[in-house]
Symmetry: C2
Subunit: 361 residues, 2 copies
């Protein structure tokens, strides 16, 4: 088992990465400060791992379970309220520990429920998808969606620990695996060119679910992310780079209706759009742009925008995205592979050209 630390003063916490560690009860026990526990999961994950988890929770705990419907379209305030219903019906106190067992949606919702219940209770992340293990479970961003924008209602709230069991990736469907790889590729593009090269070499083995290589990719991704989060927890500066591909991507997710396009798929398309704009600005060479496109294809990710997304729809949805400052959309762009920068200094015409070229096909 590997242990990474996210350094955030009194909010620091460990990330445990390894095979079959979901049921290591000592990891859980060390993070549960009280006898009240509420596991939040979804129908898909519950069928696979809920019993396993419940078995390893001590009989001393009073345990409640909330099983939510599976999918991004359920990540909203209404469904979140089901968690509060369960906590209050069980009369759980301010000392209850919430456990998020599932992918990014479950992690985001459980974290936000923990941030809000009685103004804040502890929680543990047990991410069961690659995307959640390398991205959403690390860094304390929690949220639900609003019909007018993704992740618009949320909190910065850190877990007690993250338990990333790589065995859970064996039950992931192919689309989910690819979706996670999009975020892995993102770390290479942002500030880790060496990792990007490694990913180009090893993508076929990662797609074949080589356990050791997946563990290596997860560890490196978590480390890259943890370093950035430690530097800028509340996204006042450098952390915004982690949104590479997300301003375009969120517009696609919101515009198409939540759940239709997976988050990682939308981010993949968004990263290619950011690379395309960076190329138009003369920042990225054509061959670098091709490398971005190729690695996405190797990872089984989409590289074209759904037909329903018009240029107008993009512009309107991107304007509401939280990277906007004083009306000018700030975008994460690339000065090279491994050199992302946040910029509102691009030419608007070129942004339109990128949007039009993607809508054209």
């Amino acid at each position: 088992m590997k242990i990474l630390n996210v350094s955030l003063a009194d909010r620091s916490y460990p990330i445990f990465i390894g095979k079959n560690i979901l049921t290591q009860s000592n990891l859980l026990d060390e993070s549960i400060k009280n006898k009240e526990v509420c596991v939040v999961t979804n129908t898909t994950v519950a069928a696979l791992y809920l019993d396993k988890l419940l078995e390893c929770l001590s009989n001393d705990y009073a345990v409640e379970t909330v099983v939510l419907p599976d999918g991004e379209q359920y990540k909203n305030l209404d469904v979140l309220n089901q968690v509060f219903d369960t906590l209050l019906e069980a009369q759980f106190s301010r000392q209850v520990t919430l456990i998020a067992l599932g992918g990014g949606v479950i992690g985001d919702m459980t974290g936000f429920a923990a941030a809000c219940y009685q103004r804040g209770v502890p929680f543990i992340q047990i991410p069961t998808t690659l995307l959640a293990q390398v991205d959403s479970s690390v860094g304390g961003k929690t949220a639900v969606n609003h019909t007018l924008g993704k992740n618009m209602i949320g909190a910065f709230y850190q877990p007690q620990c993250v338990i990333a069991d790589t065995d859970t990736l064996l039950t992931l469907d192919d689309r989910q695996l690819s979706s996670g790889l999009a975020e892995v590729i993102k770390y290479g593009l942002i500030n880790d060119a060496e990792f990007f090269n490694w990913l180009e070499d090893n993508m076929p083995s990662l797609m074949a679910r080589d356990g050791d290589l997946l563990a290596e990719a997860i560890e490196r991704s978590c480390k890259d992310k943890a370093d950035i989060v430690a530097e800028d927890e509340r996204e006042q500066g450098v952390r915004a780079l982690l949104n590479l591909g997300h301003t375009f991507g969120h517009a696609i997710e919101t515009g198409m209706g939540y759940g239709l396009v997976l988050h990682g798929e939308a981010v993949a398309i968004g990263m290619l759009m950011a690379a395309d704009l960076s190329h138009r600005m003369g920042w990225l060479t054509l061959s670098e742009l091709e490398r971005v496109k190729n690695i996405l294809l190797l990872a089984g990710l989409p590289i074209s925008v759904p037909d329903a997304m018009t240029v107008d729809k993009f512009m309107s949805l991107m304007a509401v995205d939280k990277k906007v400052k004083n009306g000018q959309i700030r975008l994460v762009l690339l000065k090279g592979i491994g050199q992302a920068i946040l910029s509102d200094d691009y030419d608007k015409k070129q942004l339109y050209q990128t949007l039009e070229s993607f809508n054209a096909g």
Copy 2:
């Protein structure tokens, strides 16, 4: 104008108290960092003060207004979503400033909306009731209610500043004024016996809305509260004393249905119940208990429990209240006037006797 400071490291902020300061645009301008502003108020307060406030906001600002229905029964997630709707329809960014113009319900909801919108945006409190000026606008507790418990969904989130305009108290109805005085009396009972004496002497003039005396009572209350909050922002210890009367009071509010009994009225009854239990434990003399009852009567507050509240209802609702630790209900009790302590060391029989005596009478 008086200025008090709430000392909370990088979350410190000033409380301005004075006559007709609602329209001092410099107070607002200094706290608004960006050109986006959203005023949240309710139908009652909007009719009285909204135009006045809007007039003094610079034309440079993009201003939206949300007018919510008036009353504790609307302090829930559904109504809160109206604020998010407005913010997102206006495409307001992470730099928007929210302004809470109203009583405790508006302050709590606006603060919580600010805590959650895009994971946190700045907000300003303009409390227009005595209760909000002396209590809910100070200290950063924000929340909405759940049908199973009051203030169960919320955040600790501090405003940029509090602007307490004492002129707004002239339009308060008598019940609202009395409700605010309950929280004022609370500070005396907790740790300020001298203030309690002063209140006994001056209650008739406060009820007659003597402006100078009201300002003095507000300043003293805010100072007492700010000192406690500065010591214990997240209620790990001494801050819990501010809940004197609230465990009983929340049970009454939730049990009767939100909005029927005003918060301060419920707290008044709750404080008397806490005093009654303290007397049964031998901590409070009969004459001290009588002083508590008398000052509540002088302030026009109720001292008996509504008929619908049974002992069972109290016990069940108090168990869910957030002062519960490991199943034992912790209560704020009195060792004397001005000497509150948090205790789970009381005799359960005596708690039942208190509940029964209040239900009987």
